[in-house]
Subunit: 628 residues, 2 copies
């Protein structure tokens, strides 16, 4: 029940554990996972029904009369949701377990004998495989395959998997060297097909993924060499993160899977170049990706307006890519990035009540009142919405499946020598297996609110292996001890603890969490003269709800401001806030005016974790705050 | 030879003078006008030939065989260029006078008997009037009409005007109440048709303009209520500046012309609302318009990234709109804006050598090396280019015709009582006529480099009238004297000097020009913590060419920096530079890092007028500079 199964991937250094083995019983993630299970997934299914997404299958199957409803890629949302339900079932029963099985039966009835399955193209009798640039046919199937693989791994049933295989068999007959050229305008299916290969052992699916990957940027161009579609260069020659952010990041995920199977050096080098380009010049502090809110796309280096796009799907795609890179390379920089994006850029996309979502995740919001739903979806706004389902709803089910991905990435296992990697911190007990020895690993911590983590490593019999503990890159002066013995710990690496582990061995970690002022590179002119506040892995923001009758954009942070922190259990389902003194500019000002002596008034301020904004009354928000 | 003839417009308070009456003999504008006449206009004509823009007319006329070349709105560039040549002829002979006449003969041969004339639609046998949203058919004709009116006014010949009338007659038969619905996706023809009405007296053309104006935003929507096309609301109900910036500003120009004829109160109120919205929240310091570089469009309020679009055409369109608003209302706020945009947002679009142009006019540029021409055109870059003509080339001929517009707007005349308005400052002698009395007006000044302006007002006989002198809004402590007698002068108004004017009466103006630090409203987060330098009407910038081996984005302006200025006659064809001390951040930094004590090194810096950037070796540039 791995989320990505690299157990047989020759070039991957690590593999994950089955998600059913990993226990989460903390105060941070466990309640969110429960909200997702109890509220979000059933709510999303109802929305799929309300908006005709399931009916489209019924109509295409001939069970119901009607027209295609919604947008041509709407099938993908249902499959993605079903992946979320499947992953959920690995751990606990789902209120919509039966609806999952009903949907699979329906999808089986809808599928054509050729294996083709896409209700938009079927109902509207559009020519298939002819509109690859926008049609999302392969993309939609990619989501179906991922759902089917998850369902198979979790339930052992092959009904969904057979649908996926039949589709991929059909597609393999049509596409390929010497057959038809083509790849999807929107990458996604590449990683799905490689996972299908891993699940079934059928190399044909891997070959199809390879074909789809290599068609991109190949002359004569399929998509006019369009940068927005990553068609400008063959993938092994690509240098930077460009174009539509979700497409680019899903593409990178598929490439990373390909590298895990093949060890392709040129492709891996391209991925590393692109990763550096992303992290050093195109990523928001929250881990968000995609600056251009008109095209949902990457901009040139350092162009990171706080107006931002930073789509929730792009953050999840980044998480997925970095997990694959980590499995390949076992480098802490990838899990560091995953931590950044999950606590900030991904969780910000979901409301605390489990029913509302952001598509865009801006780092500032200026409008005071609520925005119209359409605006919120398109350009980011100050209210998450459940209206996504009336239009494009890629983000909500992506968020829903993310919780399974998170669970599956907390630990990993070295493949060549006995070793456990502890990637993320959340209280709970997991039943893992290291080189044949069952090991119970228990984390006791109130991370990310508190600095201390105690990990018990309990093998059933004493056993020699390495426990690699991630010391996050943001930590200064980390402390680590094993059974009370202090061990030197550098930040941004995996600390290797190699010994014979015995019952009740304890690793104690202390990651000091002072409030930190972050600055950005001067080339990010949108943050010139500004600082952001971070504590531990969390990016903070200020929000109107904590400032009575104050224009947040008149707030200035004094250079030597002192901060205190306080955990507030009843605020925003429990968050640690940052408190301090700030300055408030007095007086009205025009768009441009002569600079002069500013008049300030002292005010108290409270900052909240960025992910929790927009859960109270609508207002302004900002992450980057001007400093004196 | 007025550029906009409001002499018979009932609701306009002012009218312009014929451009042949206005003399410019200064060191600033006169050389630029001469470059335009001698170099730019002939160069642009050659580019029109090279890229098939003229051949398209020959092919459509059946004189030459071939296909349509280029983009469907390419005819408009030729007409716009011909308008520039015509305006030029009012003052001095043009090296391409004959080519203008040849082109008019060619256009006459090309025109269909119905009056229709658009080489793209004719050569490709596209259905006409069916693609109004993108086809630019009416827009292209609008440019033809403006050129024809200018040609008629300047030369007295009616060959071009007849083509324009024949087109407008045909269009009037097709479009109108009870006939076909329609208006152009790209407004422009509205103001052209009203000018054609003013030139010919034929009300039909005015009615067609009215029809085109009122079709916008009328239900059922012609353009799906698209905000980008200003189709979201009937024009009298529009509230803000939205969508494609050039379209919005041309539309406003047409509306202002309509108001001058009709006094339509609701439309005027809408224009004033939109003007306030523009000036208070959507205009760059340079006067530039349009923040969104993907869509060339306005963004929401205060979203003014320095990456900017700020198309040269939008700046010219803003100049055109504000001239019309000024003729309507005689309010200095409009001429103040014209001064801002002409010295900064318009001139920045042209190279000093007269052959290269910017499409976008960003307020910062980060890349060190030269950018590819395509990038420069599409997103702004650090080099103006002459390659526009291979693609969209709306800006170069717009810039070419701008010099005539500028000349025509230096003075204006009150319509109801004897009065002269002095709007802009440039040395030269003009032969004006105030209430029947010939008045020679001579300006002696080295504006905008120097603070002093001496104006001689010489009526042939002593004559009582008001001279209204614009005291720019940026001036602090303006001094004004008439024949040595000091008169109190407030900034941002027209100072009314009412007396009997006699030979050699002298107005002396002193507009102190200290270097000013400008800040922007805190809601413009892209300028948070930054200041810009201005002197007089000019916005300044720093450019790599003046900084050896320095990353401009590491430069910080100390809070109490002192500045000096110096006129350098051989630099950039003569500019006043600002000199001072700045700080340079030391040390490399990542994308995000912990804020701490910054290390600075003192450096000297030189700032140049923004309009003159990108005329030396390629490099970085920025207008807004972080301050300590």
């Amino acid at each position: 029940m791995k989320i990505v199964d690299t157990s047989k991937s020759r070039y991957a250094k690590l593999e994950g554990f089955g998600i059913n083995k990993i226990g989460i019983a903390d105060n941070f993630w466990a309640p969110k996972i429960e909200v997702n299970r109890r509220i979000s997934l059933p709510h999303q299914y109802r929305e799929c029904e309300r908006t005709g997404r399931v009916d489209n299958f019924r109509v295409a199957a001939g069970i119901k009369k009607g027209k295609f409803k919604g947008i041509y890629f709407n099938d993908s949302d249902v499959h993605k949701l079903m992946e979320g339900v499947s992953l959920d079932l690995a751990v606990k029963d789902s209120p919509i377990r039966k609806l999952l099985e009903d949907f699979i039966s329906l999808a089986a009835k809808t599928q054509q004998t050729s294996g083709y399955l896409n209700t938009y193209f079927m109902i509207n009798k559009e020519k298939i495989w002819k509109h690859l640039v926008w049609g999302h046919e392969i993309y939609t199937a990619g989501h179906m395959i991922q759902a089917a693989v998850a369902h198979h791994r979790v339930t052992g049933k092959d009904n969904y998997l057979n649908i996926a295989r039949k589709w991929a068999d059909g597609a393999s007959e049509y596409f390929g060297p010497g057959k038809h050229r083509g790849t999807c305008g929107h990458p996604e299916a590449e990683m799905a097909l490689i996972e299908l290969y891993r699940e079934t052992g059928d190399k044909k699916y891997f070959n199809l993924a390879k074909f789809f990957l290599e068609e991109r940027g190949k002359k004569p161009f399929l998509f006019n060499g369009d940068t927005d579609l990553q068609d400008h260069l063959p993938i092994r020659e690509q240098k930077t993160m460009v174009g539509h952010a979700v497409r680019q990041l899903y593409l990178c995920s598929g490439e990373a899977d390909y590298c895990a199977e093949t060890g392709d050096k040129k492709m891996l080098a391209a991925l590393k170049r692109q990763w550096d380009n992303f992290v050093n010049s195109k990523m928001y502090l929250t881990g968000g990706a995609g600056s251009n809110y008109s095209h949902e796309s990457f901009e040139e280096a350092y162009q990171l307006p706080n107006r931002a796009y930073a789509e929730t799907c792009a953050s999840i795609a980044s998480f997925m890519w970095n997990w694959r890179m980590f499995l390949l390379e076992a480098n802490a920089k990838y899990t560091d990035l995953m931590e950044t994006v999950m606590y900030n850029g991904i969780l910000s996309g979901m409301s605390l009540n489990g029913k509302r979502y952001f598509y865009a995740n801006p780092l500032e919001h200026k409008a005071k009142g609520p925005l119209k739903a359409a605006t919120v979806q398109a350009v980011g706004g100050n209210q998450r919405t459940s209206k996504h389902w009336d239009g494009t709803a890629c983000c909500p089910p992506n968020a829903a499946r993310f919780f399974g991905y998170f669970r599956g990435s907390i630990y990993s296992r070295a493949k060549t020598k006995p070793g456990l990697f502890i990637n993320f911190y959340a209280a709970g007990t997991s039943k893992l297996n290291i080189a044949g020895t069952p090991v119970e690993v228990t984390q006791k911590t109130n991370y990310p609110w508190e600095e201390k983590i105690v990990i018990s490593v309990n093998p059933v019999i004493p056993s020699k292996f390495t426990v690699s503990v991630r010391i996050p890159g943001w930590v200064k002066n980390a402390k680590c001890s094993v059974n009370g013995k202090l061990i030197k710990a550098r930040a941004g690496i995996y600390l290797s603890l190699n010994k014979e582990w015995k019952k009740d061995d304890k690793i104690e970690l202390l990651f000091p969490m002072p409030v930190e002022r972050i600055k950005s590179n001067e080339l990010v002119t949108s943050n010139a003269g500004c600082a952001a506040l971070k504590r531990g892995p969390l990016v903070y923001c200020i929000e109107s709800a904590d400032f009575e009758n104050i224009n947040l954009f008149d707030v200035v942070l004094p250079k030597n401001a002192k901060f205190t922190t306080e955990y507030r259990p009843s605020m925003l389902k429990g968050v640690t806030v940052i408190k301090g003194n700030a300055l408030l500019k007095k007086g009205k000002q025009g768009l441009y005016s002569t600079a002069g002596q500013e008049n300030y008034k002292k005010i108290k301020f409270t900052a909240i974790p960025y992910f929790a904004w927009a859960n109270r009354k609508p207002g302004m928000m900002r992450v980057w705050i001007p400093t004196t």
